[in-house]
């Protein structure tokens, strides 16, 4: 078995190397698929992170009744902290709210001074992180908060939040769809390329068959060749992607400066890279298998 494996790898490599010209082409085709896939993963990752960041600035305000007791206040605060979508809470007292109003509407400041009481309620200003469930969950949270003792009113800017959440969802779906299509495309392309290269070598396969070589002897090297092409193609693509990103990064950063707050542009994680290489090899292997099974038959 070990001898057989060595034979397959040996023959696969020799065949790859002797047919360099055509092999490089198949390799390039796989590389392109992996490149596009990798790019998509990177862009998708950044897009999701950006949207998360933006939606983190979405706010929910809980206005407290003037007569709210400290117990009621802390019950509300506890309810807020229990909600996973809540990522930050600012406490605004009645005095702070008044000061803010005076700052925002200086013309009205005299009017508020005349008012018998401070008419502005104290509030919790809550920063929310987006998650796919948060739309409905927040609706529930808001409804629950509104009925809690000591709470005068609950407001939050659903409009932007919903948009961001749905944008995030949309990006995820589109990304998922595109990725699925690309993986399919890559698999089909590799199969096609391997089949074409087997087609180009069907004489060789026919000859080996007629001489009595066991089917595994004929197919094994082709499968190995597919894996070699897939693996090398993926490595090539990742290298090109890395180089391309390194070149494009300053430009992109300048474009996004201040707006996106992406931090450094991140390359694929090691696991993602390993996954892509392994996937490409698997696809190459599959291509080789399919091709070998369809082309190499005893009769």
């Amino acid at each position: 078995m070990i001898g057989g494996l060595t034979y397959f790898v040996d023959e696969g490599w020799t065949s790859f190397w002797r047919g360099r010209g055509a092999s490089i082409l198949s390799l390039l085709t796989i590389a392109i698929a992996v490149f596009v896939l990798g790019l998509l993963l990177i862009v998708g990752g950044h897009a999701r992170r950006t949207i998360d960041q933006w939606s983190r600035s979405a706010e929910l305000s809980v206005y407290l009744a003037d007569g709210a007791t400290p117990d009621e206040r802390s019950a509300v605060e506890r309810a807020l902290r229990a909600e996973p979508a809540v990522i930050g809470i600012d406490v605004v007292s009645k005095a702070q709210a008044l000061a803010r109003f005076r700052r925002d509407f200086p013309d009205l400041a005299p009017a508020t001074a005349q008012a018998p009481d401070n008419p502005f309620p104290a509030s919790f200003e809550v920063r929310l992180g987006a998650s796919s469930a948060s739309g409905a969950a927040l609706d529930r949270l808001a409804a629950r908060l509104a009925t809690m003792p000591g709470v005068a009113d609950v407001r939050f800017d659903r409009r932007w939040l919903d948009r961001l959440v749905s944008l995030g969802e949309f990006v995820r779906w589109v990304g998922f769809g595109l990725t699925a299509i690309l993986v399919l495309a890559a698999a089909l392309t590799v199969t096609n390329v391997v089949r074409l290269s087997m087609h180009a070598r069907r004489d060789e396969i026919e000859i080996m068959t007629l001489v009595g070589a066991p089917m595994a002897f004929i197919r094994g090297p082709f499968v190995c060749e597919g894996m070699i092409q897939g693996g090398l193609g993926a490595v090539l693509a990742l290298g090109a992607l890395y180089a391309g990103m390194a070149l494009a990064a300053p430009h992109l950063s300048a474009m996004a400066a201040g707006l996106f707050d992406l931090g450094a542009i991140r390359f694929l994680s090691w696991t993602a890279m390993a996954g892509l290489v392994a996937g490409a090899m698997a696809v190459g292997c599959l291509g080789g298998l399919v091709a070998a099974w369809r082309t190499a038959r005893p009769r």
Binding site: Y7, S15, R18, G19, R201, D203, E204, E206, I207, M208, T209, L210, V211, G212, A213, P214, M215, F217, R297, P298, R299
Partner: protein, 219 residues
């Protein structure tokens, strides 16, 4: 060794390459198969290694009914037969040495023996100096000799040769026939399809003539 009984092979409906051929070749025999172009010689030989299936009739080789063999068994059977193809059928991406050695490799012969035996057979056909060449770099006659070397290297129990001297000069043709005769003397059954009357005359063995798919001169 070979028992052919009522063998026919039709292509489409119109073309009948073999028509009710019955032929017996005993173990250790040396038989020439002759006949004009298109008589069905190659078709008969192709059927004998399972490359083609009969339209009707029975073919038994070495006790095995070929039409009853499973794919893996056909491959195993082919490894016991040495076949010289009319169009050589060398693997273009393997060197001369690799082309010949391949026949030993698939038998699982140890590596060192593979090399020794391959080199020896290449010497028999006078091509040891071209071992590292690719088929495309060889002359027609040299390619033919590689095909012959590949057929003989694994010391098969049956040698089937289709026009093995068509690209060789008469002297070389006789030398190659001597090789076949040596194999035959060692117990190998040999069936050679050829046009070369001179060669048949000089080797002087049993001859079976085909014409339009029928046995013309049974022996």
């Amino acid at each position: 060794m070979i028992d052919i009984d009522g063998l026919s092979r039709r292509y489409g409906g119109a073309i009948s390459a073999l028509d009710d051929v019955t032929l017996h070749v005993g173990r250790g025999e040396f038989v020439f198969l002759t006949g004009p172009s298109g008589a069905g010689k190659s078709t008969l030989l192709r059927i004998l290694i399972g490359q083609e299936v009969p339209t009707s009739g029975r073919v038994v080789v070495d006790g095995k009914d070929l039409s009853a063999l499973k794919p893996a068994d056909i491959q195993r059977y082919r490894r016991t037969v040495g076949f010289v193809f009319q169009d050589f059928k060398l693997v273009p991406r393997k060197t001369v040495f690799e082309n010949v050695m391949f026949a030993l490799r698939i038998l699982g012969v140890p590596d060192v023996q593979q090399r020794r035996k391959t080199f020896q057979v290449l010497k028999w056909v006078g091509l040891q100096h071209r071992a590292t060449a690719y088929p495309i770099e060889l002359s027609g006659g040299e390619q033919q000799r590689v095909a012959i070397a590949r057929a003989l290297v694994n010391e098969p129990v049956l040698v089937l040769a289709d026009e093995p001297t068509g690209n060789l000069d008469p002297d070389l043709a006789i030398e190659i026939m001597d090789l076949f005769r040596d194999m035959n003397a060692g117990g190998t059954t040999v069936l050679v399809a050829t046009h070369d009357r001179e060669l048949i005359r000089r080797v002087g063995r049993r001859t079976v003539a085909l014409d339009h798919g029928r046995i013309a001169r049974p022996a």
